[in-house]
Assembly symmetry: D2
Homo-oligomer: 349 residues x 4
């Protein structure tokens, strides 16, 4: 039995390329169509893109003719790596036309009945798509790259001890800004204490992801106060975050660490191909985790946590790291697709 | 009338070199003796040191014969750039022998009657040295590099509105680790969420600096709760800090900004040679301040602040930047010496 | 007597900004007009530009209204920081209209009677402008940033010993690519062995600069064989070059070093404000020169040379460093203007 | 049938760690003993080393008790990652005691009858060990990291067209300096035009490797003139080299490219586990190869070549890149061991 064909919308950008890199030998999905903007359409993919991934562009992708992002594609499942400036309408057009759109863009994250998914955190939210207005089509969204690592680390804490408030300060990698993205003159020998639009995302997205599915097929947001400060640093990949948490019921440090290292969820139980065997790693060495050393753990799909210690202003503080373009973007989206597939949400494959 | 001769203890290390660079053409002080460890003693300075400053080693310094760090120097004023592993005893020996020791080392920062000084913040604390047990000698200390920028920004807030709590997360430059310091393999394409001993310093030093001189010639620590998290990033110079504050009496954003830009203190009133004309700059652009762009403001002696905004967990959050080896080390120590001189604390000059 | 008013064409780009930074307090010239593309025109300069220099934008420049790059400016002397895509025609229009155009762009470097000047190397070539077809107007050009350091180091060698061939491999700073220029994802933890158009410039420009002014007001190119290979590295400023030379008459190492350190030329004799007191420094330490340490020597106007040693394939090899945006661009152009002024080439001032 | 036990000498340093990382799941060899200096001996490996590899330290290695570097180990095959300051004597002691020592250190590279091996280049030189004075023991050496990529690219050229002279300028990664190695303050925003001892190695080693095995079990050095200039740049891994070559018989560019891409040798024919399927890749894009993109090609064991073009001073110039700690150190040494094994040079296994 063959693989399931999928299309990539926005295939020529850096997230689109990462999708191709990660899907090159995927056991379930096969990329059969590449779509991008009008100016790329009709060209061979290799001529339409400036390939910047570290693995070479697979030949079969290079020879594909790029299509336009119009809902006349053959594959009924599309991964959207579209820029937010165009993703809103295009994704909606596809959903209306009966496509399952799994999107990395921010546009529909707060739409009614649109789930915002981290597969280990809120797999039950997928049920929301049954309430969508798109008939056989649907939109499922992936959170922002800096949100995902944070919420992976928070989920076991919320579940076991309840969360009152969360304070987070990030040191984010340059790949989060896309390509060409950040000019090199801005970041070599420098840090930048601002990332446009990032802090509001980090303060709001976790509330939906950690919220509760209700009877109307929507989410009652979690009641947690979050404050975020975001910085860009001279690191290629991997977002490092300094986190402080106040609990409903303060646990011991040991209980927290156990909650993390014992955390498993549906992707692990279903043995999804892209799921990390262990979603959260705890490191006891003070100097860990570090982007360069730990971002590729479990092929970039695990979160690394360390430096748990008491905090005089909150209950505890710690550090979390995750790979922003794998777990935080294309890899996370693919894991959602695998979850959809395993739970029978995908059309007669 | 001649300049006042001073000696540098620990002259061969990176802080010692920075002292020489900054004192090369000083209007009040003249470096007349260089002292270092036994293995450097008796050598010409240029042969004993691995000069790493960006300005060339001034010839007159290069030809000086390095002495040992023993209290038989001619200059009665000594700047200590000694490593903490030896600074404790040596500085005490000098003070006992009647020397005025102005130290960048951490060893005596919490000693009874030893002032911990940021000239703009607590110039009145210098009075403490009259209570010291060292006769005509004295020890005066400079805070940790990451403390100085923070406390410069906090002082006008404390004074005008009162501070209840402070949360700080740092992105610190590699020069803070000295030389050779951090291996390049540890930091290129990386950040490190730990700096040994740094967080306790940042949580305690501000309490002494912002505290109140009491009748016993000591300091009643300020009653502020502080939590610090310290990270190392791939930046040469300039510590960037994400700060959150809760006030006794919450002001408006405009009042805070005015408190900062109007802040002047004794170093400005006395027109000290190393004093910044304006100690604190506020930047309205979201992306500022940045290490590469603002660290050298006022020859590296000013603090740069920006991104002031309300915080859902504290009252306000903002970003502060200061040059860690100038304002945060040698430059700050020299400014203390200038203050001592201007206020008549130095021996018959 | 007042300063001479000058206009900057292309004032909003990174080279234009560098002109403003360097001309802020110039003793001879005063920037009185700023011109840029149509989309910037009519705006205040501070609103039209994304200021990226390390010194703050001087207020008087910020408030100036940007004009279009049309030859109706008041200042008869214009510095061109225009992009090569538009510089050709605009500069010619200005010259035809009687303006003296001193250009950093590559477009007219090989035009008949247009001098390509490094003030210390070929000041006599300025005489060429008398042969230009522009009446009272003229175009004078500045070489490519990577050419300047090389040719400064070569000139005393050519003059004293004659040059047969030159091999050069560069490690060039990112600021050479302008702003936004090189994407950060391309260069952090990376080097790039290619800079578009750079190698042909380095192989040809030295031949004109080191050539001989002839009776027709043009240059007979020098008879030197040059091969260049250009690389981009993760350095903010300062081009480092590995050079090998074969002489007509092979000197000793000592003779070469003396030729360098004794090299002085018209800018030094005329005591031009931007002229380095010593154009070429020689460093005996194996590890020098280095961009971070030596690029700012003499305010970025000197070339630093080191590692002179015999070569088994050529006669000698050595390393040269110069600041690419100061000596290699805006600073070099300003020095040309100062030379023009000192030698009486500028219109009744 | 079991795997062949091997010991690592100098197991705690960065090259030693790389051996462990690469040998963790090796199909032929199994690391059964770890040896290091006296101060590490008797400790568990995980306590004796500061593990800096990107993959986690395998548990079984971490628990091993480190032994001293004395020839009383059980494994008769030892990989030497020893520092040159001690490698000379220790390796000789092991060889005398009957061990096969495959060394990454420079000490014995020019000893009589000691082969200096790149498995694809001079596999026949292994025969030299039969002439060694060590009885059943032997020493086989691996070249310097910057030599290996160069000579891999040169071999097909020498073989097909003959080489007269080679000029090379390197941009070398910081990992080549070991750990802690280069201080971060020396290399962020900087390049260094000097690497101690590197240039003489690059000028001499290729002559032995490309030389001819003679009847006395030694090598007649190749008759090629080589000049090398070595620079350190802010890159983690991957040495990039600008190469110029003059041929005995100048081929066309197309012939050169074909010589490279068709190059296969014994490691490929014998299908050795660490051998790259294709030892040399040619890239037609001007901007390639780049360290960040191509260093991991074929698990870091391939050389990447690009930018072949005619040269006015030599015949051709091009760029070559190879991974300095994999192909250029531990990986190259392991490939030698695999070759020894496949050709029957290892003792009754």
């Amino acid at each position: 039995m063959g693989k399931i064909g999928v299309a990539i919308l926005g295939a020529t950008g850096s997230v689109g390329q990462k999708f191709l890199e990660l899907l090159a030998d995927h056991p379930i999905f096969e990329v059969t169509e590449l779509a991008a903007s009008e100016k790329s359409a009709e060209k061979k993919y290799k001529d339409a893109t400036n390939w910047i991934m570290q693995k070479s562009l697979p030949k079969n992708f290079g020879e594909m003719i790029v299509k336009e992002c119009k809902p006349n594609l053959n594959s009924k499942i599309v991964f959207s790596a579209l820029d937010a400036s165009v993703a809103g309408d295009i994704e909606e057009d596809f959903a209306k036309a009966g496509y399952i759109v799994i999107s990395n863009a921010r546009n529909h994250r707060y739409d009614a009945n649109v789930p915002l998914i981290i597969p280990e955190v809120n797999p039950d939210h997928l049920e929301m798509i049954k309430y969508q207005k798109y008939g056989s089509g649907a939109i499922i969204t992936n959170p922002n790259c800096s949100t995902i690592g944070l919420v992976l680390a928070l989920k076991p804490l919320q579940k076991n001890f309840g969360l009152e408030s969360v304070n987070v300060v990030t040191l984010q990698a340059i790949s989060g800004a896309g390509y060409p993205g950040l000019p090199s003159m801005d970041i070599i020998d420098n840090s930048i204490p601002f990332i446009g639009g990032e802090e509001p995302k980090m303060e709001k997205e976790p509330l939906k992801i950690l919220g509760k599915l209700n009877a109307k097929g929507d989410v009652d947001f979690a009641n947690i106060k979050i404050s975020a400060q975001c910085n860009r640093v001279a690191v290629n990949d991997g977002h490092l975050e300094n986190v402080q948490v106040k609990f409903v019921k303060k646990p011991s440090a040991q209980e927290i660490i156990e909650a993390w290292i014992n955390f498993k969820s549906e992707p692990q139980q279903l043995n999804l191909p892209s799921a990390p065997k262990q979603p959260i790693y705890y490191f006891y060495e003070d100097k860990y985790p570090q982007p360069k050393i730990h971002r590729n753990l479990e092929n970039g799909m695990a979160a690394s946590v360390g430096r748990l210690r008491e905090c005089s202003l909150f209950d505890f503080k710690f550090v979390v790291l995750s790979h922003n373009t794998v777990r935080g973007a294309a890899g996370g989206t693919i894991l959602i697709a695998e979850l959809l597939h395993a739970k029978g949400y995908l059309p007669n494959e």
